[in-house]
């Protein structure tokens, strides 16, 4: 089960500059046949990490030991395509807790949030700066303060607030999920069903 609660993260990062990374790249459909949530990390970016004979592709940055960490930095429109939550499960299971990108595909963003995988949105300019710096200096440390919703990189003198509504922030800090909230208002839902409004 995905570990809940995400507070402060201090980690190196992996740069993945491609844009429009779709969920078929994140996890190809042929790996969607499992009926548990665990273990999808083995198949993350499978066709990038392995060649078609199943051998490691040394060109893939995820196979290069210099880069590692809990943060992935990616080109814009990350997670477009299918709604498969397996993509978020695979990323989380592989060991990432944060993806930094200038914008995310809508369904992927929700899936990430529901798995306490932080879709951290900053400007494209900042993404490019981070991609370049991390590519050149893999040991660069990024810090994320959830309570302050702040991304900091001391070496770059960067201290940036990132958007996150207070409801979701509280979910991340306390490990609460949407399901728990919805179950807590079940009487209100039943009441809504009894008094459905009409179109105006």
């Amino acid at each position: 089960m995905t570990s809940k609660k995400l507070t402060n993260i201090i980690s190196t990062a992996v740069p993945l500059p491609a844009e429009n990374i779709d969920t078929d790249q994140i996890i190809p459909a042929r790996f969607l046949k499992a009926t548990h949530r665990e273990g999808f990390g083995n198949h993350l970016f499978y066709d990038w990490r392995y060649n078609n004979k199943g051998a490691l592709n040394p060109d893939c940055i995820l196979n290069q030991p210099a880069w590692s960490g809990r943060i992935l930095i990616a080109g814009k429109n990350f997670g477009c395509g299918s709604s498969r939550e397996h993509a978020a499960w695979a990323i989380k299971d592989y060991g990432f807790d944060v993806i930094i990108c200038s914008f995310f595909a809508d369904i992927f963003r929700n899936n990430a949030l529901n798995n306490f995988l932080l879709p951290l949105q900053v400007s494209e300019e900042v993404v490019q700066q981070l991609l370049q710096t991390v590519t050149a200096y893999p040991s660069l440390i990024l810090e994320i303060d959830m309570a302050q919703t702040l991304l900091s990189v001391r070496e770059l003198n960067l201290h940036l607030p990132f958007p996150m509504n207070s409801y979701k922030k509280s979910c991340f800090l306390n490990g609460h999920d949407d399901l728990a909230y919805l179950l807590s208002i079940k009487e209100e839902i039943k009441n809504f069903e009894r008094n459905r409004p009409v179109y105006k």
């Binding site: 779709d22 009926t35 066709d47 939550e85 798995n115 949407d178 209100e188």
Partner: protein, 471 residues
């Protein structure tokens, strides 16, 4: 509630949205009530498992409808599924539906088919509803004037447990298309044209309302193709105001009684954007500008008119040039190359985008009396059992078989190649599906998206060609 002034009039989206808000969370999302929930074998097992672990029952089983479509074989469906993992997923769906009293139209059922084909054809999808499914192409149902969108498995679990979701109101875009389409231009060409213009992320954060007289003149099948692919420009969903075409389509559907139809009709007739409604973004398109479209790259936005050439690298945004080179290398194509004349190996006519009876009729009308090119493997996979049956009744099956097409049994098939229907490495496939992502139709398969007419023409000639020249 929406922040829009009532004096200004309301959009269709807002009319439906507001009627489904259970409550709003301060500085957070809204609680949106869901009328219809479609489930399938691939994105539901983890949701049921999680509910069982927490001992939570399914809240409104009669608002949930299930089908097996994503991983099922399209041949010999009466036999056990050979792939063990696929068989397990289908079995688990069957067990979960039985346990939770959910209506299942599984493999072999007379109503079985692709979730986005059967929902409308059975009359389960109706105007004004909120509809979700663990599949991004749920946007299809927006063609009936619904708020329909894809969700992840955690959200499937939420809807099973509470019939609600937490959602932020998206921005609303209107795309107005007016004028007469050129002969041979289909709704698939309209949506591929729009995606090429707006790009694969041009509508991220938006719901799109499609309007204008070109849209009004389309059949329900054609409207569904457009709404289906609105997700491919990043939109949360697409919708079209219901009208006489919609109401007529919904008559005599299995799960919509005449009585209910009569009762709902006056309500459905209130579902349109008020003339004074304002949109966050508006785009106008002249239908006459649209040619038959074809994709050359690895996302649905990489498309050109059938007579056009692949764009030159220098004309691509600097930041995107590396990805562009990579995409063309994957496709084995060159900048500046004409798509017309490209030798192809496979044709796949199917998927939730283009596997309805109208699509099969278009193909049959075109290929009648012709033979497929010898080197082409042509698969046609109907969207549902009902479509397959109707095709036989209309003689379409015979025409297809006579032309050398393989007419398969319903399912998602080679659209995402979860079953055996895979395109071999390096082969070109002209496909009526919705995504040309790398590896989507098989490892290193090369997908070229097109309309059913363009796909049929490619099957006959063995290369990409302008079907209008053969009409």
């Amino acid at each position: 509630m929406s922040g829009k002034l009532n004096l200004m009039g309301k959009t269709l989206f807002d009319k439906i949205w507001e009627c489904h808000i259970v409550k709003e969370i301060e500085e957070g999302p809204s609680v949106l009530y869901i009328d219809r929930h479609y489930i399938h074998e691939v994105t539901s097992p983890q949701a049921f498992r999680s509910l069982e672990e927490k001992n939570i029952p399914v809240f409104r089983p009669h608002q949930v409808w299930a089908t097996a479509d994503h991983n099922i074989p399209t041949q010999d469906q009466h036999l056990p599924i050979k792939d063990t993992l696929s068989a397990q997923q289908v079995q688990l769906l069957t067990e979960n539906c039985r346990k939770h009293n959910i209506k299942l139209m599984g493999i072999g059922h007379p109503f079985n088919g692709i979730v986005h084909v059967i929902g409308p054809e059975l009359g389960i999808t109706q105007p004004g509803m909120t509809i979700v499914c663990g599949d991004s192409h749920t946007s299809t149902h927006g063609a009936f004037g619904c708020l329909a969108f894809g969700i992840g498995t955690s959200e499937v679990e939420m809807v099973l447990a509470t019939q609600c979701l937490l959602q932020h109101r998206p921005k609303i875009m209107r795309i107005q298309i007016d004028g007469q389409l050129q002969p041979g231009v289909l709704s698939k060409d309209i949506i591929l044209y729009l995606i090429a213009r707006l790009s694969t992320n041009g509508a991220t954060g938006y719901f799109i309302e499609f309007a204008g007289d070109t849209i009004r003149n389309l059949s329900m099948e054609a409207r569904m193709t457009i709404c289906n692919m609105s997700i491919e420009m990043g939109a949360r969903g697409g919708l079209i105001a219901p009208d006489e075409t919609t109401f007529t389509y919904l008559r005599n559907r299995e799960f919509l009684s005449d009585e209910e139809w009569e009762k709902q009709l006056p309500i459905w007739k209130t579902l349109y954007s008020d003339p004074a409604a304002s949109f966050d973004k508006e785009i106008r398109i002249n239908a006459a500008d649209i040619s038959p479209m074809i994709t050359y790259g690895t996302n649905p936005g990489m498309g050109v008119g059938i007579g056009d050439k692949i764009p030159l690298l220098k004309d691509v945004e600097a930041s995107a040039q590396k990805d562009y080179r990579h995409a063309l290398a994957y496709m084995g194509l060159n900048e500046g190359q004409a798509m017309n004349g490209l030798h192809i190996d496979y044709v796949f006519i199917g998927s939730c985008t283009n596997a309805r009876i109208e699509d099969l009729r278009i193909v049959a009308d075109f290929i009648k009396g012709k033979k497929k090119s010898e080197h082409v493997t042509a698969w046609i996979v109907p969207g549902s059992k009902q479509v397959a049956e109707q095709a036989e009744q209309e003689g379409i099956g015979t025409i297809l078989r006579d032309a050398g097409f393989q007419l398969r049994q319903p399912g998602c098939s080679a659209c995402l190649a979860m079953n055996e229907d895979k395109i071999p490495e390096g082969k070109y496939c002209v496909s009526t599906s919705n995504r040309n992502f790398e590896g989507r139709q098989g490892i290193n398969a090369r997908t070229i998206l097109a309309s059913p007419l363009t796909a049929a023409a490619a099957a006959i000639t063995g290369h990409i060609c302008d079907a209008r020249m053969l009409l």
